[in-house]
């Protein structure tokens, strides 16, 4: 298996749609060269119960959310997470969840570049 030289991590952020623009505006500060955003339906431990409701819902209520997925150098992850947490924080239920996973490699199909080279502006063009 081909493994990237530089350690990479994938950060997936599930949050409210209204908060996504704050993330996209400032993402370039952390060595992020691309981003994927997709709509999602889901719920967390409250099973979709609104925070003002008195009792937890018995059945699952799926709420509309957005998922922001970025791959970035692992050394940038801590500062990026700090920024993301502070940007998303409102103190209310539903601020979001962040998942961080290691990425063993990334490949740009068109040029065959790997690792961070595949995420940066291409040098082989």
């Amino acid at each position: 298996m081909r493994v990237a030289i530089e350690e990479l991590s994938k950060v997936e952020i599930i949050t409210r749609e209204a908060k996504v623009s704050e993330l996209t505006e400032n993402a370039s500060r952390f060595g992020i060269t691309g981003m994927t955003i997709y709509n999602a339906l889901g719920c967390g431990v409250q099973l979709g119960t609104q925070e003002y409701e008195n009792e937890k819902s018995d059945s699952l209520r799926l709420l509309s959310k957005q998922v922001v997925m970025v791959v970035l150098p692992t050394r940038e992850v801590d500062s990026f997470l700090d920024f993301v947490e502070k940007s998303l924080y409102t103190g209310h239920i539903g601020d979001g969840k962040i998942f961080v996973t290691p990425v063993t490699n990334a490949i740009r199909v068109r040029t065959g570049e790997e690792g961070m080279d595949a995420l940066k502006e291409g040098t082989l063009d």
């Binding site: 609104q50 925070e51 409701e53 008195n54 009792e55 700090d82 924080y89 103190g91």
Partner: protein
């Protein structure tokens, strides 16, 4: 999105405007008249203690952003319902009510000094309160358009007069008197409580967070700079007093700024300060009457006060709160707030209650840091727990040194003690019977945040 337009300048202007009220000038006159220019040191100490608390409030605001109930909601999450009701609902509301009463007294005294003749000052206060009661019940805020202008006019007047007096370039006669009346440690720190009153209210800036362009930086910085600007302004006034006003006349005056205006610029100065003071006092009484009734409504929504405070009349005004607040202002004024001694006593009581709620706010920061050490905070008070602890100690020291006279101090403590005991009894039974929660168990932040929604009380009422 487009609403975010307030910058640091606006935050500072609002902060200064909200803190400087005409009753502050009374504290300034009493303090400076008592010990002379060393009162500047007293003011600096009070300013620093206030800044420490405001930093804590800024951190709490970062943890629980955009709450309308302010300190009460922070403390609900920090120390639970029992202490919150005593310090914040009781103490803080009482403070604001007393502050409104003192502003009313300033209006009455000022008006009486000019046109009163033999009519007692409280009569003018009562007429003003009656007028504002009617306008507020009709849902009309008569001063909303001019209150910013009035606040800034007062500030600009004080700055101009302070600088003129400091430089000794007024048209009046320069008074030859010692700058220092007392400079020993006890005298200088013994009236910290009085000086504290010059800076209270900085936390009113917090609601601007929503409209701030860079709230993370501008709210804490704006609050600190507001305090420093107010300190500078008051220093100029004290130096001006030294040059143009006899210390003993100053400390005995119920309207020191008008006395100073007259001594500095003659009749022009007197009328200038008179008009500005009257407008500022009317504006303050109106603002406090209106905002308190809404705060009562907010407290009721989060179940800390009886539900009748949420009732509104046809005009949408929370009429029960308005009537209660107006009656309170009236009773306090009729029972005697026209002499300097009674007002300064009231200010001391008020300062202690306010200081207690500030101590609890500092404590909230320490408790929430232990409970939620990793929660993201867009602003965190620097140097670990040192500054909140200093804030608590500083506030405690100001309570201890509220008055240089032991006799007066004990009397002040007695009034505060009786108030706290009465509030504790109310709080105990309210929490046990109505709230039905453990007395000292803090609310989860998510619950405090949820309470902000109107739907919260609807949902909880249905079931409860």
């Amino acid at each position: 999105m487009g609403e975010k337009k307030i910058g640091l300048g606006s935050v500072i202007a609002t902060g200064v405007g909200l803190v400087v009220a005409s009753s502050c000038l009374l504290s300034l006159g009493i303090g400076a008249g008592g010990i002379g220019t060393p009162f500047i040191i007293t003011m600096a100490i009070a300013c620093v203690v206030n800044i420490l608390t405001l930093l804590s409030v800024a951190e709490l605001n970062a943890l629980m952003p955009n709450l309308t109930g302010g300190l009460a909601q922070f403390s609900l999450a920090g120390v639970g319902p029992f202490i919150t009701i005593i310090c914040m609902v009781g103490g803080y509301l009482l403070c604001n009510s007393l502050a409104g009463s003192v502003e009313g007294a300033v209006f009455g005294n000022t008006f009486s000094s000019m046109f009163g003749g033999s009519i007692p000052p409280w009569v003018f206060t009562a007429v003003l309160i009656g007028f504002l009661l009617i306008t507020n019940l009709n849902g009309v805020d008569v001063f909303i358009k001019v209150q910013d202008f009035v606040a800034y006019a007062l500030i600009a007047s004080l700055v101009i007069m302070g600088v003129l007096g400091t430089l000794g370039i007024g048209t009046g006669e320069v008074v030859n008197q010692p700058a220092v009346l007392a400079s020993d440690f006890k005298s200088v720190t013994g009236i910290c409580g009085l000086a504290f009153f010059l800076f209270v209210g900085g936390e009113y800036v917090i609601p601007l967070t929503k409209n701030c362009r860079n709230a993370k930086r501008d709210i804490p910085l704006g609050m600190i700079l507001s305090m420093l600007i107010i300190l500078a302004m008051q220093i100029f006034m004290v130096l001006g007093f030294k040059n143009y006003t006899q210390w003993d006349e100053l400390s005995a005056s119920t309207t020191p700024q008008i006395l100073y205006g007259k001594m500095l610029l003659g009749p022009i100065g007197r009328y200038w300060m008179l008009v500005v003071t009257l407008l500022a006092a009317i504006s303050s009484v109106n603002t406090i009457m209106s905002s308190l009734s809404y705060i009562l409504m907010g407290m009721s929504k989060i179940e800390l006060l009886p539900a009748f405070f949420q009732k509104t009349n046809k005009k949408g005004a929370p009429y029960i709160g308005i009537v209660i607040v107006a009656t309170f202002f009236l009773v306090v004024n009729i029972t005697g707030l026209s002499s300097t001694d009674s007002i300064s006593f009231m200010i001391a009581v008020l300062a202690i209650l306010w200081l207690i709620s500030y101590m609890v706010s500092n404590l909230d920061v320490l408790l929430l840091r232990r409970r939620l050490p990793n929660a993201p905070r867009n602003f965190k008070v620097p140097f670990g727990n040192l500054l909140p602890i200093l804030g608590i100690l500083g506030s405690g020291y100001m309570i201890y040194s509220i008055d240089p006279s032991v006799e007066v101090k004990l009397l002040i403590y007695k009034v505060v003690g009786i108030t706290i005991v009465a509030l504790s009894i109310y709080s105990f039974f309210w929490v046990k019977i109505k709230v039905k929660r453990p007395l000292f168990q803090p609310y989860a932040i998510k619950e405090v945040m949820a309470m902000e929604s109107d739907l919260y009380s609807k949902f909880h009422k249905k079931v409860g």
